[in-house]
Symmetry: C2
Subunit: 329 residues, 2 copies
DNA sequence: TTGTACGCGTTATCAA
DNA sequence: TTGATAACGCGTACAA
C-alpha cells in the first residue's frame, strides 16, 4: 500500500507537507505541483482508518432494517441514501431478519464500528432494545415507533386509521373485518387499528370483527382463503397494502368480485396497489420524505443540537377501485 | 471514549496484557478475572479503526447496487447478507441510482474505504467501469454482467430466452412482440432477447416484432397503452417481470383478456407475478442463491485463491395463467 | 511555507 | 505469564 510517507519521500518533502496539501492547503505552488504529480502517478489515496483514528470521526451512519424485501423500507432507504450522500456520509446497512436478538447484536456492532449515528427501523420494541440503545453513546433515531427517551420519527398511524374509518362510513358500510398484525408492533398493530375503531364505533350498529396475520403476503393469503368464505363483513380493512394484495388474490381465486362483493383497502401506498386489478384504496405514506427527514434529524442529533423527541409524518387517503358504496351491492 | 489504556491502568497491568486477553488469551486466570471485571464495568469495546490500521484488514465487504427498489436486487442482497453475516463481514452498501458517474465514484469510494472486496451489481458496463475497477487493488466481483478480466456471476439469460421461445412455439404461437430494454445492458437487453429469437427463428413463418422500454413499470405501462391496440402478435414476451406486470395492467384497462386475447410472459420470477391476475408465466431466477454464491466466490478471491472467471446460475420456466395455446383464440 | 515530533488505539515482537 | 516498545498511517502543534 502506498502511504503518505511514500509520497513525501518521492516528492522530497515532509509528510506533514503532504498532509497539509491534502487538507488545509497552505502549500507553495511548486511543492503543490510536485505532490500532485506523485499522487497521480502512484494512485495514492489516504487511509480512512488512520484518519478516523486521528480525527475520532468516521463519517459513517448506520442503518438497521428489519428485512430487505420491504417496499416501504426501501423507499425510506432511498430518502436516507439521497440525503446521506449529499452530506458526505457513508452508509452501513445491517439487516436483522425481523429477529430481536439480531437487533440487539446489530445495535452493538454499529456502536463498535463507531458510526456517528444510527437510524433504526423499529418494529417491535422491547425493554432490551431501549436498554441496549441507551448503553451506547451513539446518537440513535427510531423510525416507525416511538419510545421513551429516544428520538423518533413516526407515521400518523392513528390518523390514517381514522381516515379509512371515516371514508368507509361515508360509503355506507357498517360491518367490517379488520385484518391486523400483532400488537407487538405498536404503530401498525395497535395505533393504526385503534384509529379505525375509534372512527367507526360512534356510529350505531357498526360491527368490527378482527383477524390477525403477519406482514408476509403468503400468510395473509392462506388465512384469507379460510376466512373470506365465512365472512359477513362488507368492507375488509387490511393493516398493510401487502396484506390487501394477498387478500385480493385469495378473493379472486374464490370467485369474489371486488368491490361488488365487498370493499377492500390497505395502508402504505405501495406501488403494488396500482398494478393489481382492481387497484386498491389505501392511505399513502411519505416514505421517501421520511428518510430525508430522518437523516436531517439524526445529523442535528450528532451535532448535539436540541431536537424534538418525536416527529410525525402525515399521510393521505388514496381512493382506488377496490372500494365502493355499500348500497351498490 | 474508554481505551485499552484505561483498562490496563485500572486493572493494574500493561496494555499489552489486555490486548492479549482480547485476542490470543495467554493470560493467567487472576489477571483475566481482573480485566474481565473492568471491561464489564466500563463497557469498553476495542476501536475497530485502530485495529484495522494495525491489521491492515477491515473486515468489510462493499456492495454496489443500481437502485434500492428492485425486487431482484433485494433477493440477491438477502443471500449476500446471510453469507457475509455467517463469515463475520460487515456490509457497506452504496447505491448508484442507475447513474454511471456515481458508479465510478462509488468504486473509488469503496476502494478508499479499504473494503476487502466489492460485489457490484452491474447493469451497463462501460470501458470506464473496467478501467476504474482495474485501477483499484480491491478484489471485484460483478453480478449480472460479464467483462473481460473481471470475475463475475451471471444468469443464463440466453438459455432463459430460449426456454420461453421453445415454450411459446409449443403453444402454437408464431407472431411475437418482444418488449425489451436497451442493449447497454448486455445480459438483459441482448442475451436474453437473442436466446428467444434464436429459439423461434428456425420455425417457418415466425414473426418477431420489437419494442424497447426501460426497467420502470411506469414507462412500460405508458408504452403498452399505445402499442397494444395496434399489435397483431399473439404472444408478448416482456424482458422483465416488472414490464410484464405493467403491460398486464395496461391490457386490462384497454379491455383485453389474457390469455384469451394474447399470451404474456416475463423473466425473473418475482413475487409480484403471483399476486396479479392472471398470474404471469415467467422464468424463475435463483437470486438468493446467487447472492450466497457471490460471497463465496468473493471470499476466495480475497484469499487469493484461483477462481474461475465466470459462474453461471441456471433458471427454470414457471408456467402460470397468462399463457395459453394459440388455437384457443 | 516547511519540517520535526508526538499521539490517536491497537497489535506484535522481544525480553524478562 | 507479563511488560516495554515499536509500528500501523495520519494530522497537527510547534518551531524553524
Amino acid at each position: 500500500m502506498v502511504t503518505i510517507n511514500d509520497i513525501a519521500k518521492k516528492a522530497g518533502v515532509a509528510k506533514s507537507t503532504v498532509s497539509r496539501y491534502l487538507n488545509n492547503g497552505s502549500v507553495s505552488l511548486d511543492t503543490r505541483r510536485k505532490i500532485e504529480k506523485i499522487i497521480e502517478e502512484t494512485g495514492y489515496s489516504p487511509n480512512n482508518f488512520a484518519r478516523s483514528l486521528k480525527a475520532q470521526k468516521t463519517n459513517m451512519i448506520g442503518v438497521m432494517i428489519p428485512r430487505l424485501n420491504s417496499a416501504s423500507t426501501n423507499e425510506v432507504l432511498e430518502g436516507i441514501d439521497e440525503m446521506t450522500r449529499k452530506l458526505g456520509y457513508q452508509l452501513i446497512i445491517t439487516n436483522s431478519d425481523q429477529n430481536n436478538e439480531r437487533e440487539y447484536e446489530n445495535i452493538q456492532t454499529l456502536a463498535k464500528q463507531k458510526v456517528e449515528g444510527v437510524i433504526m427501523f423499529a418494529r417491535e420494541l422491547t425493554p432490551t432494545h431501549i436498554e441496549t440503545v441507551s448503553k451506547t453513546q451513539t446518537p440513535f433515531l427510531f423510525i416507525g415507533q416511538k419510545a421513551e427517551g429516544i428520538h423518533s420519527i413516526i407515521h400518523q398511524d392513528y390518523q390514517a386509521g381514522s381516515k379509512i374509518g371515516a371514508y368507509a362510513l361515508e360509503l355506507g358500510h357498517r360491518h367490517f373485518l379488520y385484518v391486523g398484525v400483532p400488537e407487538t408492533d405498536r404503530a401498525v398493530g395497535v395505533d393504526r387499528r385503534q384509529g379505525f375503531i375509534d372512527a367507526v364505533r360512534p356510529v350505531n350498529g357498526t360491527i368490527v370483527e378482527m383477524i390477525e396475520t403477519d406482514f408476509s403476503r403468503t400468510s395473509a393469503y392462506q388465512k384469507a382463503l379460510k376466512f373470506l368464505p365465512e365472512m359477513e363483513a362488507t368492507y375488509v380493512v387490511c393493516a398493510t397494502d401487502n396484506i390487501a394484495v394477498a387478500v385480493l388474490k385469495a378473493a379472486k381465486e374464490l370467485g369474489y368480485s371486488i368491490p361488488e362483493d365487498f370493499s377492500l383497502s390497505g395502508f402504505g401506498g405501495y406501488e403494488a396497489t396500482a398494478y393489481v386489478s382492481p387497484t386498491i384504496t389505501t392511505v399513502s405514506y411519505p416514505f421517501r420524505e421520511m428518510g430525508i427527514e430522518a437523516v436531517n434529524k439524526l445529523v442535528r442529533l450528532i451535532g448535539k443540537e436540541e431536537v424534538p423527541y418525536i416527529s410525525e409524518m402525515s399521510n393521505e387517503l388514496v381512493i382506488n377501485q377496490s372500494t365502493d358504496f355499500f348500497e351498490k351491492k
